[in-house]
Symmetry: C3
Subunit: 530 residues, 3 copies
């Protein structure tokens, strides 16, 4: 048994001192033990928070796998490889982009006492930054925002275009929004020293910063890119009476993706508390996790059963639509991301429920308007990102705002009315935030995509699209291609050889084995030829 601190201190006293002197020395000695405890505790706080953020960042990173599986399941077999590569490159690109400039633009040189800036301008290449877990967490968010777009554009977008916008988004467009809403020096930030209208915009974990940004980009991009061949129009460009369904190739992977995303959201939302060393922060993190669960659940239920009831009325048949249930859950998750720390559980259920209905309505609207979204990312991320911000403006509770932001002057509109004031300040900040994000994204991405399109870098070649992007970009497909008609394959092969000859190459060697092998061209024989 170790000696008590008192015994230790007594044992260090010289003999024959009088009691008063002894007391003085003991006090001095014990003070050291106190300081040691303070030091240990401070280290523990560091350790706990570091671990908390590593955990959260890992889970947010794992959402990349979720998006990948959701996309993989949602596309046709002939495009799986292409889609998977885009998902993988998102993660890689975001890491490098956020390391070099993205983080610097978003948080570089932030200081609580500094003045409001539009963009950060320090810590490029992480120079001078040693808060590595914060970088890690933020990188994972940036990667998420880029991945959202990938799904929408699946099956018809060129790799080059994809690489360009992915870098632009994570390197510049997203960081500026991130800076404005989350940095101490952002003009919308609720954690700024002197926030907008004394309130600032509340976007706890990024309904706006991440999802609205990604979703809006997706909408702009798909409008310019156009729909997949045969989805809404026939070969002569006449509108089909019924849009042709392009069912994904694996429901199981879609559901796996959804569950991984839901799982990852526990890192996304709770980790946004950024620290868990005070009792208040613990409560915030716990509330965020609970609200996340409830909103997801009510979103899925709302979407599934509303559709079921409508369909039953119209066709006499009860149809349980898995896609709607799944995307309803995701919509609920997106919508709660903004307010998870500042609204009550009952409000989370309402938020999720409305999210499910909004998803359903806008998914339908997109189809009506012939806007092609291969994974319904627009109604899930854009619409519900937007709704999440408004829901927070409505339902943010004063005492939770106090706990999470230390500022409850301007609560949600619902509570303001309850207080009899009708104070619209918070909601106003939310609306300004929404307008800012919509404008900023449109202002940058619209000309960007128009330019890509004008240069012919955006849309895949028509024949490539029909035979599938796996063959055209990846040297072959790993799968039996009975989705694709042989005559299209033949036509594609001819066109390709032609092009290669024009560039002075003889492409035929690469396809030799392919001839023997049907259409089984792959990695290895490509390798064998260089």
């Amino acid at each position: 048994m170790a000696m008590s601190s008192y015994e230790t201190c007594v044992s260090q006293l010289d003999d024959g001192l009088n009691i008063t002197v002894q007391n003085s020395l003991l006090i001095q000695c014990l003070a050291k033990s106190i300081d040691e405890n303070t030091g240990t505790t401070s280290d523990l706080r560091d350790g706990l928070d570091t671990f908390f953020i590593i955990y959260s960042a890992s889970l947010v990173f794992f959402m990349q796998a979720g998006f990948a599986m959701l996309c993989a399941g949602s596309v046709r077999l002939k495009n799986v490889q292409n889609t998977m590569l885009k998902n993988l490159l998102d993660a890689c690109g975001a890491a490098l982009g956020f390391y070099t400039v993205g983080y610097a633009f978003a948080y570089g040189g932030q200081s609580y006492d500094g003045k409001t800036t539009f963009i950060g301008n320090a810590n490029f290449f992480l120079i001078g930054e040693d808060d590595f877990v914060f970088w890690l967490f933020q990188f994972a968010f940036a990667a998420t925002s880029a991945t959202i777009v990938a799904g929408t554009l699946a099956e018809r977008c060129q790799m080059t275009a994809y690489l360009c916008y992915s870098v632009a988004l994570t390197g510049f467009v997203y960081p500026v929004i991130c800076h404005s809403v989350w940095s101490y020096n952002g003009f919308l930030s609720a954690t700024a020293k002197d926030p907008l209208f004394g309130s600032g915009m509340i976007d706890f974990a990024g309904s706006g910063v991440v999802h609205l940004t990604g979703g809006t980009t997706a909408l702009i991009a798909t409008k310019i890119l156009g729909s997949r061949k045969g989805r809404f129009f026939d070969e002569r460009g006449n509108k089909l009476r019924h849009p042709k369904p392009f069912p994904g190739h694996s429901v199981a992977l879609q559901v796996l993706g959804s569950f991984i995303l839901w799982f990852g959201w526990y890192g996304f939302n709770t980790g946004s508390a950024r620290s868990i060393v005070t009792a208040a922060q613990s409560k915030i993190a716990a509330l965020a996790a609970t609200n996340t669960t409830l909103a997801a659940a009510s979103g899925g239920v709302a979407s599934l059963f509303t559709n079921l009831i409508i369909m039953e009325r119209l066709t006499g048949e009860a149809v349980f639509n898995l896609n709607f249930a799944m995307n309803g859950c995701l919509g609920g998750l997106v919508s709660i991301t903004s307010g998870c720390a500042v609204i009550e559980p009952w409000a989370a259920i309402i938020t999720g429920f409305v999210a499910g209905l909004l998803y359903l309505a806008f998914s339908r609207l997109l189809v009506k308007r012939c806007i092609d979204d291969a994974v319904d990312a627009i109604p899930v991320h854009m619409i519900n990102g937007l709704w999440g911000l408004i829901s927070t403006g409505l339902l943010a509770s004063p005492h939770l705002l106090e706990a999470a932001y230390g500022n409850s002057k301007h609560a949600g509109w619902f509570y303001s009315w309850g207080r009899g004031s009708g104070d619209f300040t918070l909601m106003c900040c939310q609306l300004i935030g929404i307008l800012f994000i919509l404008s900023w994204v449109t202002f940058l991405m619209l000309p960007f995509f128009l330019f890509l399109n004008y240069m012919g870098w955006f849309r895949s070649d028509a024949l490539e699209e029909i035979v599938g992007l796996d063959i055209s970009y990846h040297g072959g497909s790993h799968h039996n291609m009975n989705e694709v008609k042989p005559e299209y394959l033949e036509a594609y092969r001819k066109q390709r050889d032609e092009q290669l000859k024009n560039r002075g190459h003889n492409g035929s060697t690469t396809f030799e084995d392919a001839e023997e092998d049907g259409v089984h061209v792959s990695v290895d024989n490509v390798v064998a030829n260089f």
Copy 2:
């Protein structure tokens, strides 16, 4: 460098005081630093435990993905969508059910000093409850208990029936068991102030509460629901000489599911320590994780090699049966769930080994008795849930009971014999617990399923079952349906149109595109029609 607490206190002293007065003031001043440390530490304890439970709950939630993949892999392609929806709805339903009433029945108003109750009756809608992480963790457990049943009934159960029993289970049946075994006020609880026979039932993480409950429900349900068409009987109802195998459509997904479950179990079992801020609790959590690993491993090995040896004797051929290895692991995990904190690693290996053998024997028995379990959930969860409780009664070690429950008066029977007493108290509590769970589940679920069956709400229509539930409930299948004979599809389509006409609808529009498209009916053309 910050000043030490001593220097700070000295700097606050007025000049010219005598040493004794100085000492008094210093003491007073340092006491404040002590209190600050105490406060910081207390906050850290909160934070660490909150984080620990958020982590554990996330992992337990992720088990939903594990069950989903296990089921997806185990069913035939034509039922994947149906199965996936059930898994997703489990998570949603459990969240809403446990928020509204389940949690209130299970833990509402629990108090260590309160008297024994049969059911909780406070905190409905989480009103008055602010321990959100505890709710989150418990919700994830409730969801698990419902999901267990989904697998067994796959490929032949109506959605309506599924929704009904899923709500009943998570909203009422499970919470009462949970209350009895885990609430301070439960009559079987080992953490009660005055536990049953001075011991109470030891079910650390829920072999009984979760798995026996789910597994027993599955057994009752499948007995009433009957086996899948063609599994044990031919079209005229004659028993087949050999049961027809219904192999699942993806081994890879089954294994993925098993690994996710094993991974999730590290949250399930270690999180059940509920707190990790004392050295004793850390040891418990660590032991639980280690035992979990060992039991899973020995369960898988036992099941695989026992089967291999038997088959080799009978047929002369060594067959490595993946399904048995996989389910042996899961059986081992279920069996260790009860005792993971109170038995030694060697005992975990024995527990897992026996679990593997029990799984094998009962899986065989079910087939012999023509009880159809699409994923072998009954031998995995029911039989090994039961065995887990008995194993704890046998092998719970006194010093671990002391560490985990602060009560080692009644140890496992094995140790009692070692002590020369043969004290059967703990085992007796375990047996009472088993009887209680079996009776309670049977008492409620048997009439419930009989009623569903009597009303015709339980079993799918025969033709629907043959063409697959994906077409009948979900407006089509995402897959090539070469599993299904065209004449059955044709018959099903006629029957369906007939029904719709009788209800005054003209269903044909919905199937128009389907005609053009082979049997590719899907989400989008369904959407296009409302």
Copy 3:
């Protein structure tokens, strides 16, 4: 509100004492509060570290699922079941092997003050060891090292051989290396009291211990086992002009596997800090996580685009090769595993970039040399494990070495030159470590595999390989076998019946249903026959 510690102590004083005596008593009383705080804090340190390691170990364990999915996706459908079983048995075997002897050989009886030993020799069956989380973490590493080999040998290795080498590797070969590099008493250990040349070998999370060991074993094994039939040679043994590609059956599962591995690596590398309770350790863990991310990203990008540029030059066509991107990421992860805690982020990017190039070059070299590696595990794990150790010898920064190992006398060669000394000590230790691992593995595994091969226990029967291992070892396949020609199936069936008859069994019963069912033989009819 609770009383402050000062008030509490004052309230315990008797009346009428003089101030000096009061002070003495107060000091004594407050000292108790200090000790209580110290105790609570010490418990918290225990708790935080235990939790940190449980978390990390869970993630490392989850990598088993990653390897399984990577393998499942990379093999042909006819071998999926076989591959999955091997992955599952790895986890089980490693748990049992590491429990019984592996841990004892690796860390048994380690003591900082003990002398250097070649192998541990205490704590067999975990007797006398109560640091269970450390065991758990180490078990997960051992399992990883065995799993690496599984992929390379896929599609042609007998189950028996697999079981033998898997046990040998995790039970003896790996533990000795682990002991040498990581135990306090290892002759290469950087944490030894008196490390080699005053420096020791730096392998923070196991580029060498885990990946080089696994990868080297894989290389030896595949050299002896030979390539898959038809991969490099035709039926008469003539070398093919172009190696025949054996594309895996699911790109989506491959990518899922890669993402799971990347996710798991956050446990692998950060958890190797082993503790997170001091500020220095927090920084190490955070840096490790960040470097892990950056190396993976730059590895993937390097491999993808270098290949793209080369191919574009050669064939005129830009090919985005998903497999190369994926394995480039994994190569980057392997290479950063050794140095993640001691190199700067910019160095992590360089390390990963070189790893991507090395992967590409060696993947190509293997094909040229007709060395068949079904998942490219050799260039990923062996080559980049080796490169990771060298990269650490080059780029380990003095101040990070100081933080992580408390010893910065011998920094990376790059920094040594900067200091003007050219001190080669660290690099020398790294090279000795590499030589040791290569020699130890070769010395043990080469005769081992030669022996297996000589006895005819290594390679599957030729016909079995052609019809796929799922039928031959697992009593049938779960899948439509249109990969396999019917005449081969027929030939295989005849050969099998012959063998069974020779052993005195009549195998035909087992295949009865199979006849009715095409080649759908499965679990259930196998069960039905014992």
